[in-house]
């Protein structure tokens, strides 16, 4: 195969894995906003306004996000999700090219001709690419608005450019060989690496690997002014993006941070000095446990065979391509150690750049194993009397057994991962937030004051007034840009509040009497069975008089009288058994038992993996029992509210079920309590 044909094949492979992964991502893409990331809804909102994102600012993400927000289909949040899908698929394509480039630069195993060597290399490139593509964490970030897929794309591109530069340097033979192409490639690498700081500053942890590799490629690097200048200028140009921060300092919407990047010290605090409370959180004695957790993440993503291939690949790379070993290990280890010492709840996503390296090294391990297998295979008798396309040393006849085994090895793990992780990463029916806010903004009375949280976790609410310009008459005191965050300066409209924050906390009513009762109006199935995803979403009306929480001897329309955990569901009233998808049903649940605020109640309509969840009594229970009246014999507790029916449900009959979760006893079994007919 000549060079041109090889390039064509490699481009075709990169294109092929790009298309395959993009199709899977599009099939599982979140239709709009989601709670699968703490700051994902902010990332879906702020770039479209060219505003300032939370620390560390992420200028490049903001600008690319703005471009995607201009696409002519879907809503703005969908377009932000699409940015993740496209850049994740782009990363997958780059991974295949990385494996090929590393293979081409490696010492050869004797006894193999070019064709089987190439086939093994291309197969391993496909394996590595798809292994990362369908690993659970990477995939989860490809279907929501987040920084991680664009970030891995830029890191992958930087690695490719660095390898291309090194290949060119080596082909030119040494110190005096630096030419314009070398300067261009190195400057390109430095520029992309600098730009990648605008998708995640933790990419700095890759620097030791890059420096090792540069010096191992050209030990006179520091004495070559053109190369040095290209690197400094490229990296500096990439970092220039952070001028965006002081320019936009007045727009900062990150209410959780008092830092304003309006001078040099502020820019430092907003970037390199950000999140000191998360860093180096664990003493050295905790390291075995932290390593254990990290190893669990890696195995969850690549399964044991993938991890074993990566270990084998690391040894093989050390032997066959030691420079690349130092590049990848020098980038991988500092990155992993830094984040093993990081203390945040969504820790697994921070390891994605190092997962990229694990996938590449696993591909390298498979490639070496395939090559060794092919060499051994020529000594074996052919199991099948059929000519194989994988001729070994030109002899040709080795049967279809070997390529079949090779294909199985290459595709088995990625295909298994797709099947195994599909349900977990399929967010295509995640419409609970949009369905909720469409109904909520439709039903809020003129001039209502809608309280919510502030900061990055409240952009599910802010998205609608900022991006969709929905109901400008509604006053949202915490909306970025408003000065009266406590609402005291606002008009005295009807008081409403929406759950907010990472926990979906029950709100207080801004600018009003804090002693208002919180009456549930609308609740949405936005909690996910996936422990990563979801939080409560409930709209409350504030009112001075207590809601009727206890009724005596009720007669529900639908009688159940079944225990649900420690409580008993006496029955419920429902206004309609037939409802349009995206609409709501009005519910009145009647409970008996020993009431306390340690319960939460979950309801679910249909088989979408989302359910609604609220505290028993919607946060009014203790106050009601102590200030209105205690429980009397024959009393039942009433929960009355509208429950959102997901627009993603297919038309037809769907089960309606309920469960409770006790802080002391955990979750009860789900109890089927009826069916609801959903119309298109």
């Amino acid at each position: 195969m000549d060079r041109k044909s090889r390039v064509n094949v490699e481009v075709a492979i990169a294109g092929g894995v790009f298309v395959v992964s993009l199709v899977v991502y599009l099939l599982t893409l979140t239709p709009s906003l989601s709670y699968n990331s703490i700051d994902g809804n902010e990332l879906a909102t702020v770039p479209s306004q060219l505003g300032l994102l939370h620390q560390t600012g992420y200028p490049v993400y903001t600008w690319v996000g703005k471009v995607f927000s201009l696409l002519p289909f879907g809503d703005v949040a969908y377009r932000a999700n699409l940015l993740s899908a496209v850049s994740a698929a782009g990363t997958v394509a780059l991974i295949s090219s990385l494996v090929v480039l590393l293979g081409r630069g490696s010492a050869r195993i004797e006894g193999l001709t070019t064709v089987p060597r190439d086939v093994a290399l291309y197969g391993s490139a496909v394996f590595a690419a798809l292994l990362l593509a369908f690993s659970v964490t990477f995939w989860s970030q490809a279907v929501i608005a987040e920084l991680y897929a664009p970030n891995t794309f830029l890191l992958g591109l930087a690695l490719i450019l660095l390898l291309l530069w090194a290949r060119h340097e080596e082909s030119m033979g040494g110190r005096d060989a630096t030419d314009a192409k070398s300067v261009r490639l190195f400057g390109g690498f430095a520029l992309v690496y600098g730009l990648s700081m605008g998708t995640h500053l933790s990419n700095l942890a890759f620097a030791p690997g890059f420096i090792f590799y540069i010096l191992l490629t050209n030990r006179f690097f520091l004495l070559q002014p053109r190369l040095l200048a290209a690197g400094l200028v490229g990296f500096g140009l990439g970092l220039l993006q952070f001028v965006w921060l002081p320019l936009k300092a007045g727009d900062s919407t990150d209410a959780v941070s008092s830092v304003r990047p309006d001078d040099l010290s502020g820019v430092y605090d907003y970037t390199l000095g950000a999140f000191p409370q998360f860093r180096w959180a664990y003493p050295l004695s905790d390291m075995p446990e932290r390593i254990y957790f990290y190893a669990s993440f890696v195995i969850a993503n690549f399964y044991l065979p993938g991890v074993l291939l990566a270990i084998a690949g690391a040894w093989a790379m050390l032997w066959r391509h030691p420079k690349a070993f130092f590049l990848l290990m020098g980038a991988y280890l500092p990155h992993v150690v830094f984040f093993m010492e990081y203390n945040v709840v969504d820790l697994e996503v921070f390891f994605l750049p190092s997962h990229l390296i694990v996938a590449v090294v696993a591909g390298y391990g498979l490639w070496t194993a395939l090559e060794l297998g092919l060499v051994q295979a020529q000594r074996l008798p052919s199991p099948f009397p059929v000519r194989s396309p994988l001729s070994v040393n030109g002899e040709g006849v080795r049967g279809w057994g070997l390529p079949a085994i090779a294909a199985l090895l290459i595709l088995a793990l990625p295909v298994y991962s797709v099947v195994d992780r599909w349900d977990e990463n399929d967010e295509s029916r995640n419409t609970g937030i949009n369905d909720f806010y469409e109904l909520a903004f439709e039903r809020l009375p003129e001039g209502a004051i809608l309280s919510g949280g502030s900061g990055v976790t409240s952009y599910d609410l802010f998205y609608y007034p900022i991006v969709e310009d929905l109901r400008p008459d509604i006053i949202i005191p915490t909306l970025p840009g408003r000065d009266d965050r406590d609402g005291t300066g606002t008009a005295s409209g009807p008081a409403y509040a929406v759950t907010s924050g990472f926990l979906g906390r029950t709100p207080s009513f801004a600018g009003a009497d804090r002693a208002l009762w919180q009456v549930p109006v609308l609740a949405s199935p936005t909690v996910s069975f996936d422990p990563r995803g979801g939080r409560r979403l409930t709209l409350y009306r504030g009112q001075t008089e207590a809601p009727q929480l206890l009724v005596t001897n009720p007669s529900p329309l639908v009688r159940i009288d079944e225990p649900v955990g420690g409580l008993t569901l006496l029955g419920y009233d429902i206004d309609a058994h037939e409802v349009e998808a995206g609409g709501s049903v009005h519910l009145r649940l009647y409970w008996t038992g020993a009431f306390n605020n340690l319960y939460s109640v979950s309801t679910q309509i249909g088989d979408a993996p989302y359910f609604e969840n609220h505290d028993f009594g919607f946060g009014n229970l203790n106050r009601y029992l102590t200030t209105v009246r205690p429980v009397a014999p024959g009393d039942a507790l009433v929960e009355e509210y509208d429950l959102v029916v997901l627009s993603s449900l297919d038309a037809g009959e769907h089960r309606f079920r309920i469960r409770t979760v006790s802080a002391t006893a955990g979750a009860s079994e789900w109890l089927d309590i009826g069916t609801i007919m959903v119309r298109d």
């Binding site: 446990e289 050390l318 969840n613 979760v661 079994e669």
Partner: protein, 146 residues
């Protein structure tokens, strides 16, 4: 078996790279191996759902009664460091920072210590977030009856 075709490094350089890399990789793998053996005894994080539903308690535990206000959330401790707990709740994990001012109430409602907050313990937490929900600072933690 391996044909040295990659240019640039001399055999001596390569030998050093193999040696340093081999030592480093061996050390990393040994450390990971040790952690995998040592880790599981302290690292398993069963979820609240693993508890038997039949053990529901309908009375208010004394430790909860000792809290000055209703808990903000509850769950099971899945990881513990001197400065923070990770608590698996029904809607996902929460990182809770603790300090000398954090009050701990044990099952019988009396005041406990930081040492009572061990892995797998069910807790209810009164906490506030200063960073939009990424982490919480706990003012009171009640140990729930097992």
């Amino acid at each position: 078996m391996v044909n040295e075709s990659a240019p640039f490094q001399s055999p001596i350089e390569k030998r050093w790279l193999h040696l340093i890399g081999g030592v480093a990789l061996t050390a990393v793998l040994l450390l990971v191996g040790y952690s995998l053996i040592a880790g599981p005894s302290s690292g398993e994080a069963p979820s609240t759902d693993s508890r038997a539903p039949g053990r529901a308690s309908t009375s208010r535990p004394p430790s909860i009664a000792a809290l000055s206000e209703p808990p903000d959330f509850s769950g099971t401790i899945s990881a513990s460091t001197p400065r923070a707990l990770t608590i698996e709740t029904q809607t996902g994990p929460r990182v809770v920072r603790i300090d000398g001012d954090t009050k701990v109430f044990v099952e019988d409602g009396t005041e406990g210590t930081r040492e009572d907050l061990t892995r797998d313990t069910g807790v209810a937490v009164v906490a506030a977030s200063t960073d939009g929900g990424r982490t919480y600072a706990a003012s009171e933690i009640a140990v729930l009856p097992r």
